[in-house]
Amino acid sequence: MKKVFIYISTCFCLCYLASCDKEIEETNAAYPALQPSKTDADAGTWTTMIAASATDFPVPAPQPTSSADYQQELQELKKATQNLTSEQKRIINFWKAGSVLRWNEIMRELVAKHNLPPYQNDDNTYPVPSAANPFAYPIFPFSNPPYAARAYAYVSIAQYDALVMAHHFKTAFNRPAPYQVDNAIQPMVPKSDLAAYPSEDAVIAGASIEMMKLLFPADLEYLKKMAEEEKNYRLWSGANVKSDIAAGDSLGRWVARKIIQRAKTDGMGAAGGNPALWTKLEDDCKAKGETPWYSLETPKRPPMLPFFGNVKPILFGTDAVPSLRPGPPPSATSAEMKKELDEVLNYTENPTRERMRIVNFWADGVGTYTPPGHWNAIATEDFVKKGYSEVRWARNYALLNASMMDAAIMCWNTKYHYFNARPCQLNPKIKTLTGVPNFPAYISGHSTFSGAAATILGYLVPEKAAEYKTMALEASNSRMYGGIHYRSDCQAGLDTGGKIGDYAIARAKTDGAD
């Protein structure tokens, strides 16, 4: 009898344990509803980044609120807000934290999803993802750091430019929100004094989906679903009538198409190069008497986007690129390089837990949202506390991501200009604590991204400027601790990133938002 009791109680304990709550509370789950401390109603006068003029976008004048059409829309709105299902409420709660914020998260997710280097072919070559055939293996894109930096930038810029245009039309037409027309409507989101036509959320949905179907074509169904949810949430929450949304969606798409025109001609199409050009990079390095980089992967993988350094920057002209490029790294045979190699070897042979934590925290390698995504995540945590309007959210992400796209351009330009070897290539005793990226060492990408991001974020959130600098330095050092970068890669990367961040600050000071 006793043993039966024991067995039963054992089973009971196991069942109890199995039912333990393993649910993860995500950091972005409890963001408050967007409630701007300042509406930025004048944002229609701010300077855009790419789109030129509001006259390019034919937004029709809305029906007045007294019109029968509008009254009809109000009636529909009242109906839509009644008897919401729990799924509709979930969608409202998700999006009300802010549309720009949520699209930034969606972008980070898609970058992480697609950040996988293709598996080799049977003949030890590597297949190349194709935008024309995005679903075939390897799925398009391989969102490596430069690809991701550019994607974050263009989407953020499209959202920002589209919102500036939206504000222009809001001011021009000044049609109020439905809850201001009819006080029987109690919105489920914080009320805003901004004119409601065109809806900024719909502008963001239109701009985002139009950009992202170019950048992440294999996820079109998911993107469509999110854009639909986002537009519906405005209706269900009683915040916008249908015509506010239709006008916003369409304006967002128009602006995005302007950005796409630029993206299609910015030089990205040639960033991969070809075998003859890859060989030339190696030969040019040898001709300087230096030790060229080679892929440390087996089978050897072609270099990642070796001509990304020729992509047209956002914050400065192509002509500024050579002057921003740092001087050469220490020669592979120099005493200075020997010293730097010894330092890296020492880190990898004596991995402390704290240094491994730093390596892991900043690794941002395969299957992650990359260093630009990491800085977006850091910025997001701080932006949430600031009570920004949608247009200011977009502007700040646009400045951050433009600086990181330009950081990627400068970094890649420098890497392939010098084409130097990784530490473990010069000293095989160096065993790394993170994956070795498949491109030359000088300058460190993490350092360049982080230098740029910390600089512009320090301007946007000045009370945290020193903290961002410390984080950037840690991100930079993480690459030495991991055994994949020399100190000079890291220092030159931080410096170069800092200079790019200064361009972003100069832009921020004159765009009319401050």
Binding site: A18, P117, G272, P437, N438
Partner: protein, 312 residues
């Protein structure tokens, strides 16, 4: 956009699961052996296993960026007989990982400390047959805050594991069959980064660890001085996700494996307290694990702490 190429980062799997089922075999929590009252067995063993092929989900591959990944281990285990039918045991392995190719640094260190209570509530003899039932409760926890975010080069999964096992053993003359099944409740773990991608993006340091089950069948020849047996061991993770093509392994991957092995244990005639044991095994099927082959050898010594030991 054209050619994208990126981080060489090896891609693989952890072979040994956090609960290390095969490190040692001197009265483990998995067999049908008991230490007598007030007897203390101290066992030391060394093990080695390695794999070259691994399963990325169900896709079996090798990886020239890792070559052969091997695990060397050393383990100390103690087993004390509180009563003939109630034993308590503890174990602590030291593990070192090495890859023959690529640039990745293999880590090493003390892994998880395990404590088990083994109880035999029922044993019955029917002629030449003996049937025994056992219940084992176990808990293991990382002995230090080792790095878990560097698979397959890190030493463990860092989860605290609470396990319950039921064992049935039938012995007819000198032949025996032991079947056992365990449920392992694994605690969530924390990694050093604020977000990660499984089959979707998760913005948290915390990683939900799926629970796991273990099933074992052992059969062979057993006398007080010699045991020779074959076994099949299956590990199944209840949940978790597959490694995507060319992705890195992750701590909460589904990690399933089926292994077959042989094992022997022998106590010397002249020094009956001194025993030797050894096993060898091979992974025949798996998912998100390496196809490992391993062996282990150890020595154990039994101290009789009973005051009446002179009479025993």
């Amino acid at each position: 956009m054209k050619t994208n190429f990126y981080p060489f980062i090896p891609k693989i799997i952890l072979l040994f699961l956090a609960f290390m089922p095969f490190l040692t075999k001197a009265q483990t929590e998995q067999d049908a052996l008991m230490m007598g009252t007030r007897k203390l067995c101290i066992a030391g063993s060394v093990g080695y296993n390695s794999w070259t092929n691994y399963w990325e989900g169900t896709f079996k591959r090798d990886n020239d960026n890792l070559g052969q990944v091997s695990t060397k281990s050393a383990m100390l285990m103690v087993n004390y007989g509180i009563k003939d039918n109630l034993n308590v045991m503890a174990s602590l392995p030291y593990v070192k990982i090495h890859a023959t190719q690529g640039t990745l640094n293999g880590l090493g260190g003390f892994q998880d400390l395990g404590v088990f209570v083994k109880w035999r509530p029922w044993q019955q003899q029917f002629g030449s047959q003996t049937i025994s039932l056992f219940a084992v409760g176990g808990y293991s926890t990382p002995s230090n805050k080792y790095n878990i975010d560097f698979l397959p080069m890190c030493i463990g999964l860092g989860s605290r594991v609470l396990s319950g096992r039921l064992i049935a053993d039938v012995k007819v003359n000198k032949l025996f069959v032991t079947v056992s099944g365990a449920y392992m409740h694994r605690s969530n773990v924390e990694i050093d980064r604020p977000a990660y991608y499984t089959d979707h993006q998760i913005n948290s340091h915390e990683v939900a660890m799926p629970d796991a089950g273990n099933f074992q069948l052992r059969t062979g020849y057993r006398t007080p001085r010699l045991i020779a047996e074959v076994f099949v061991d299956n590990m199944t993770t209840f949940g978790g996700f597959d490694i995507r093509k060319n992705d890195m392994p992750f701590v909460s991957n589904q990690m399933n494996s089926t292994k077959v092995g042989v094992e022997a244990k022998h106590y010397l005639a002249k020094i009956p307290s001194l025993g030797f044991h050894a096993n060898a095994w091979h992974t025949v099927a798996g998912r998100n694990v390496g196809q490992a082959t391993g062996f282990m050898a150890g020595v154990d010594y039994i101290f009789n702490l009973s005051p009446k030991s002179a009479n025993n």
